[in-house]
């Protein structure tokens, strides 16, 4: 028979930390882009407002910081959109028209132009317009071509501005920032795209692993079913041969064949069951959902750290109690609780007793009590006309797990 290894839990943990890493890289890139933009505007602001005495004109004094703030805000909004649209497939992204004729793009571009005029520098205006447009999502290969053209244009503008009689001392620094800005933004976005692509490759890999796991399961299942079918076929053949001569022996063979069918079913369930198993709080929440669907008024009271409770011991109890409530309960209300008291976990399941459920309600409890007794726990129940309640206590020590 095929040996079945249980699925390895480590990939999901490293996947979670990788996902966090991708998110952190995204934040780092976005922050550095915003920071470079703010830095450029700050350097220009200091020179324009103070070194060149712009603070004396109210238009410059108010206009420069205000317009700078608009440009930065527009860039931040566009960065958020850029990240979000990076997740979506093409059909779900905004149309081209929507992408460019949107409030942040228009506000950013117009403010950049006016800012250039206020600072009396076409170089700054063009650089900011370019940096804003950079953050819009372009088609493949368009952005870097545009940036190369833009950079060439910015260098030309710089030479034109050099020809003008302005204070020479600060001109190079300003030009350096203005020319570098669009290029850095474009490079940052490019690296961000690369990270996202790597991340999507990682997700694909994770899905592939899941598919391989399923294929393995399918092959195990094939072996298991094949074996049982062969046994059943032989048992039935034997029964067919014997039925005329020895009907009793034939009936025995048929009974054996039926047992083989049950074995095959149980084996199949066990095989599929390895991929199941959810944390106890989820199991309780599912139970509450089911009971609500059955029309009961359900109250769920679960300790926040209930995931630490021994799920392999309490899980079957939750299942048994939930089916009991469905089968034998009065159908009005139920209350599920899982609380930690000192060093024990207490599971309580209470409901209104159904008509004539005196025998049924306790039916599955012996099985539960045996299981719980095995790990040093305890099962009690109380019952009156209004309320049937089961208390299950298990030690929270490590041995229960």
């Amino acid at each position: 028979m095929a040996v079945v290894s249980s699925p390895d839990p480590t990939p999901s943990r490293s996947a979670a930390s990788l996902a966090r890493g991708v998110t952190a890289t995204g934040w780092y890139i976005a922050t550095s882009m915003a920071f470079f933009l703010v830095g450029t505007l700050f350097v220009w602001g200091v020179v324009v407002l103070f070194a060149r005495g712009g603070w004396r004109a109210p238009v410059t004094l108010i206009g420069f910081p205000l317009l700078s703030a608009i440009v930065v805000a527009a860039t931040v909004v566009l960065l958020v959109r850029y990240r979000r649209d990076g997740d979506l497939d093409d059909a779900d992204r905004p149309s081209w028209r929507r992408r460019f004729l949107s409030v942040p793009v228009i506000a950013g571009v117009v403010s950049s132009m006016i800012l250039g005029a206020v600072a009396e520098s076409a170089l700054l205006g063009a650089s900011l317009v370019g940096a804003t447009l950079c953050v819009v999502r372009w088609g493949p290969g368009i952005r870097w071509r545009g940036v190369v053209l833009l950079e060439a244009g910015l260098v030309v503008l710089w030479f034109l501005e050099l020809a003008r009689p302005t204070p020479e001392s600060d001109a190079f620094l300003l030009a350096f920032f203005a020319i570098m800005l669009p290029a850095t933004q474009a490079l940052s976005l490019w690296s961000w795209d690369v990270v996202l692509q790597l991340d999507s490759a990682r997700r694909t890999e994770a899905r592939l692993a899941a598919v391989q796991e399923r294929l393995r399961l399918a092959s195990d299942l094939h072996d298991l079913q094949g074996h049982h079918l062969q046994v059943i076929a032989l048992q039935l053949e034997l029964a067919e041969r014997m039925i005329a001569r020895d009907p009793d022996a034939a009936a025995d063979q048929i009974r054996l064949a039926r047992n083989s069918v049950d074995e095959a079913r149980e084996g199949t369930r066990a095989l599929a069951g390895q991929f199941r198993g959810v944390p106890l709080p989820d199991e309780l929440a599912n139970a509450a959902d089911l009971l609500r669907a059955a029309g009961l008024d359900v109250e769920l009271d679960v300790e926040p750290d209930a995931a630490d409770a021994p799920a392999d011991v309490l899980g079957p109890v939750v299942r048994e109690c939930t089916t009991n409530v469905l089968k034998h309960g009065g159908g009005r209300w139920a209350r599920l609780g899982l609380r930690r008291a000192d060093d024990t976990w207490v599971l309580t399941v209470a409901n209104d007793p159904g008509p004539g459920s005196a025998v049924g309600a306790g039916a599955g409890l012996e099985g539960i009590a045996r299981r719980i007794g095995g790990v040093g726990g305890d099962v009690t129940h109380t019952r009156d006309d209004e309320r049937f309640e089961v208390f299950v206590t298990v030690p929270s020590g490590g041995d229960a797990r």
């Binding site: 979506l88 779900d92 079913r265 959810v278 929440a285 599912n286 899980g315 048994e320 089916t323 469905l326």
Partner: protein, 200 residues
Amino acid sequence: MIRVLIADDEDMIRTALAALLALEDDVEIVAECRDGESAVERALELRPDVCLLDLEMPGIDGVEAASRIRQRIPARCVVVTRHARPGVLRRALSAGVDGFIPKSRRAEDVAAVIRDVAAGRRYVDPEIAADALSDERSPLTDRELDVLRAGARGETIAEIAASLHLSPGTVRNHVSSVLGKLGLATRQQATITARERGWI
């Protein structure tokens, strides 16, 4: 006598089950149907005590048939299934189904369930309940599920936005967050996943 209607599109299973149940002293098979619509029709006509409905049938499924029958007549309904997909038991219970059993149960057990249900009790098979309880919980919020549901038939972002009275940007935010949570690449994959797990 408990009058029983059986609906199952697999002829071999239906006839074998009907023959085995007819051997029970207190069960009478009043009708055998091959799909959900005819089961509803025959049930309204014959008013059986218990309807034994296969979950997977062409046209309307067993749960839907049960809910239509229950709306009109007080027949008790038992749904039989080969493989209970997540969420089905929840749907069946809210449709007012009284019994839910896997197909692998022996006919004598099915007869016992029919008796139980006819006597006014509810029967949920432990295996199916265990499966339902070990369902993976949806990591998505109600709003995100709304977005997937509204876009389940290939609607565009703009159409989803219009039907939910949200802005397209908000819808995109939800979609992006859904894809991030599920680790998937497209909205279509997310919709398929959510449907397979019974979240929508």
